[in-house]
Structure formats: structure tokens, C-alpha cells
Amino acid sequence: MKTLLVVDDKADIVELVKNRLQANNYQVIVASDGREGIKKAQQYKPDLIVMDIMMPNYSGGEAVKVLKSDVATKHIPVLFLSAAASSVDDGEEPGRVCVDGQFFPAIGKPFKPEKLLFEIKKLVGD
């Protein structure tokens, strides 16, 4: 079973995403801001991080910067899930967000669950 880390400062969203992922046979760890997200990623080495962008105590971008510069976590794929204007996806393809010159896939909020699950599957495999 794949382990996913969901990082978002909105408790309702964390609960909904966790619920949705568990219903699709993923093990889910949660964090409520960037700093906690970094800590949990380093602690649990999840198979994927679903990352919000606009959060207090390290935004999603800042947290990804830290994780990508750490050899223990730099290999973990990141999927942004954000309501920020910069991460709107359109149609079939995910949006893209650039951090430190590197692009990461991004799903805009509100999201369609099948699209979220499809992108996660692409990143972690079955």
C-alpha cells in the first residue's frame, strides 16, 4: 500500500482529501502547514506529497525547496493541490508550478476526484 502525505492548512480539505484517498486504498499521513509537512516527509518518507501552496509557516513552495535540497527527501514526487491563481489546471492536463527552476504538476481547487486520483497514480504507480 502506497503512503501519501497530504499537506494543507484547511482542516476540512485535509479531511476530505484523506477520506477520498483512503477510499482508494492509500495510506494517508497529514500535516497542517509547510513546516509540519517537511517534518512528516523526513520522518515517514511517503511515496508522494500532495501539497497546498498558500499556507502559514512555510508555504508549499518553500517546503518543496527544503525537501528537494535534502538527499533523504529529494526523490519524493510532489503534486501541488492549490487554490492559488498560479496553479489552475485546465482540461485534461495538470497545471505546472515552478520551484527553483524545476516544474511540478499541479491540480487546481476545486478538483475533480478522478483527476486527482489519475495524477497520483501516474506519480506513484499501482
Binding site: I13, M54, G61, A83, A85, S86, V88, V97, P110
Partner: protein
């Protein structure tokens, strides 16, 4: 024998007319030079009075007699003047008449040596005419002040242009030192002496600068001073040619002023534009921030609404009756429409570089 050789020598000379007069002034010898110069054969002229060589005006003034008289009293009489040939044409003659006396001091007659200086005379006159033409030309030029300085820098000639340009009459300025045309600051800096020095060493000194008129007003002058030397290389003085370039200078100043003015206005305008640009940039940033926040504020609750409904509709919490599911799905479609409207309203872009906002926050 010696006397015979001497006679032959004189007889053969063709560049000088050399002959003897008796004490009364009658011709008693004649040589080849005399024949060539004056046109008479010996037999035509022997015994005639030497006054036949003089033009009428000299005869009337008694010149021949006067010359003999002077040779008698002074021993020698020298003259330059017009003389006549046999055919009546004139030539310019250098004439020396010497009284000839025997050992006892008695007058035996006069020797007369005449040279034809017509060519030299013509050359002198041509030179004088050329100098006169040149003098008149320079004198008449009114656009250029052209005058000569002596080796010490004192003014020795003055033309109409100089008078017009500098305001001095010739009699007011002749003999004065040319430094009187220079402004006090140039005098203190020793400029006049420096310019003569440069003309001396370089042959020529050129300068543009302010000069003074007699009334104390200034004009912008183009000045060339040239050292004038004779054929032996001795310094004879300096020529000085001055042109008034005040109008050109004023035009240049005017252009410079206009340029400066233009540059200042461009600078002012640029500053203003930069200020407005900075304002616009700030407004743009505030707009971006506002859009970002609005987007976040509107889309976050939409996400919760949509996913809550979706999870119920998808049966995550148990079977949902078909008619209820139909309402839930209708809600989902409308939430999606609403999200779409929000996206369009905010005109947000799909792809945006997160670098800058990230750096700003940290």
C-alpha cells in the same frame, strides 16, 4: 704698349658704353658698348655734344651742364635716369662721369661710363606695382583684420577690416603693442607672448578666443599669427589675420543652450515616466496579490463544497438513493460552472512562475 692694350679692352666691352668727352663735353672716343647701347656708329657721333643723349626735360633743366660741373668740382658725378637712343627710344641708365686730369692737374676731359638698367628698372617697377596692388587689396578687405607687427609685437600696418573689427583708427593704434586686443584674463596668463613664441617656433599660431574692441566690448575671434622672415631667415615681424566669429559662436551657444534645455526636459520627462512606471508596477503587484487572494478565498470553500457533495454522491458514506444522487450531481455541475466563472473572472493564468512571490514571502 700698355695704353694700346687698355684701348682694345675698352673698345671691346659691349655691356658698358665707355667714351671720352673733351673739356667742353664733346664726344672724342666711342666703344662697341656705346654703339650697342645708344645706336650710333662712331662716325655719326664723334664731335657731337653729349647732351644729345638727354631727354628734353633734362635739357631744359640744364642737367648735362650740371653733371659736368659736379664732375669738375667733386671729381665724379653719378646719376640714374632716362637717356635717349639714336632712334629716340628711352632706356634707364646708370651714368658715371669722371673728370680726367693730367699729372699737372689740368683738365683733359671727362670719361663717361653708362650702363643700361632698363630691365632692372622694369623689374623694380613690376615689384613695386605688385606690392602696391597687394597693399591696396589688404587695405580694402573689411571682413578680415590684417596687419603687421614688428618683431617686438608692435603694430606697424592697419587695414580697413582691422578698423571695422577693432574700432581703432590707424593713427590711434600704430606703434601700440598688440596685447591691447586681449582680455585681462589672457594678459594675466601671458597669452600674447605665448602666441608670438609659438609663431616663432612653429612658424604659425592659430587661436580662437575672446578679443577686445576699442570700446571694451568683446568679440569671438579666429586669429592666425604668422612669423614673417626675409630670405636670409631673419625675423621681420609677424602678420596677424583676425576674423570675427561672434555670430557663429552665438549660434553655437544657442544650439548648445537648446540642446541642454532639451536634455533637461528629456531627463525631467524620464524621471516622471519612471515614477509613473513604478506606480503602475506597484499597482500591478497589488492587483496580482488581490487576484491571488480572491482566487484563494473563493476557490477554497468551493473545493470543500464540491468534494463534500462528491463523496456523498460517490457513496463513500453508504448507498445514495437515485433521486437524491440526481440532485447531488446537479449541484456538482453547478459548482463546476461557478468555479469556471471564478477562473474566467480573475483571468488567471495556468502557468506562472512561483519564484518571485516565494522569494518575497521568505
Amino acid at each position: 704698349m700698355r695704353s694700346e692694350r687698355f684701348r682694345l679692352l675698352v673698345a671691346g666691352m659691349i655691356d658698358y658704353a665707355i667714351f671720352m668727352l673733351d673739356p667742353g663735353g664733346h664726344i672724342v672716343t666711342w666703344n662697341a658698348g656705346a654703339q650697342r647701347l645708344k645706336g650710333y656708329q662712331a662716325d655719326e657721333i664723334m664731335g657731337r655734344h653729349f647732351s644729345c643723349f638727354y631727354p628734353l626735360e633734362d635739357l631744359e633743366s640744364g642737367k648735362p651742364a650740371r653733371e659736368l660741373e659736379m664732375a669738375l668740382t667733386e671729381g665724379r658725378s653719378a646719376d640714374e635716369g632716362w637717356r635717349l637712343r639714336k632712334d629716340g627710344t628711352r632706356f634707364w641708365a646708370d651714368v658715371v662721369i669722371t673728370a680726367v686730369r693730367d699729372e699737372a692737374g689740368h683738365l683733359r676731359g671727362f670719361s663717361k661710363v653708362t650702363r643700361d638698367l632698363t630691365q632692372r628698372k622694369q623689374a623694380d617697377e613690376a615689384l613695386r606695382a605688385s606690392e602696391e596692388r597687394y597693399r591696396l587689396l589688404v587695405a580694402g578687405m573689411i571682413d578680415y583684420a590684417i596687419f603687421m607687427l614688428d618683431p617686438g609685437g608692435h603694430i606697424v600696418t592697419w587695414n580697413a577690416g582691422a578698423q571695422r573689427l577693432k574700432g581703432y583708427q590707424a593713427h590711434e593704434i600704430m606703434g601700440r603693442h598688440f596685447s591691447c586686443f586681449y582680455a585681462p584674463e589672457d594678459l594675466e596668463g601671458g597669452k600674447p607672448a605665448r602666441e608670438l613664441e609659438m609663431a616663432l617656433t612653429e612658424g604659425r599660431s592659430a587661436d580662437e578666443g575672446w578679443r577686445l574692441r576699442k570700446d571694451g566690448t568683446r568679440f569671438w575671434a579666429d586669429v592666425v599669427i604668422t612669423a614673417v622672415r626675409d630670405e636670409a631667415g631673419n625675423l621681420r615681424g609677424f602678420s596677424k589675420v583676425t576674423r570675427d566669429l561672434t555670430q557663429r559662436k552665438e549660434a553655437e551657444e544657442s544650439i548648445r543652450r537648446l540642446n541642454g534645455d532639451l536634455e533637461r526636459r528629456v531627463r525631467d520627462r524620464t524621471t516622471e515616466l519612471e515614477r509613473v512606471n513604478a506606480q503602475l508596477k506597484e499597482l500591478g503587484q497589488r492587483k496580482d496579490d488581490l487576484v491571488n487572494n480572491l482566487s484563494h478565498e473563493l476557490r477554497t470553500p468551493l473545493t470543500i463544497i464540491r468534494e463534500s457533495i462528491a463523496q456523498v454522491s460517490d457513496g463513500l458514506f453508504g448507498e445514495v438513493p437515485a433521486d437524491q444522487k440526481r440532485h447531488l450531481d446537479k449541484s456538482l455541475v453547478n459548482v463546476d460552472d461557478l468555479a469556471h466563472i471564478v477562473n474566467n473572472l480573475l483571468d488567471v493564468s495556468k502557468l506562472e512562475n512561483l519564484e518571485e512571490p516565494l522569494l518575497k514571502k521568505s
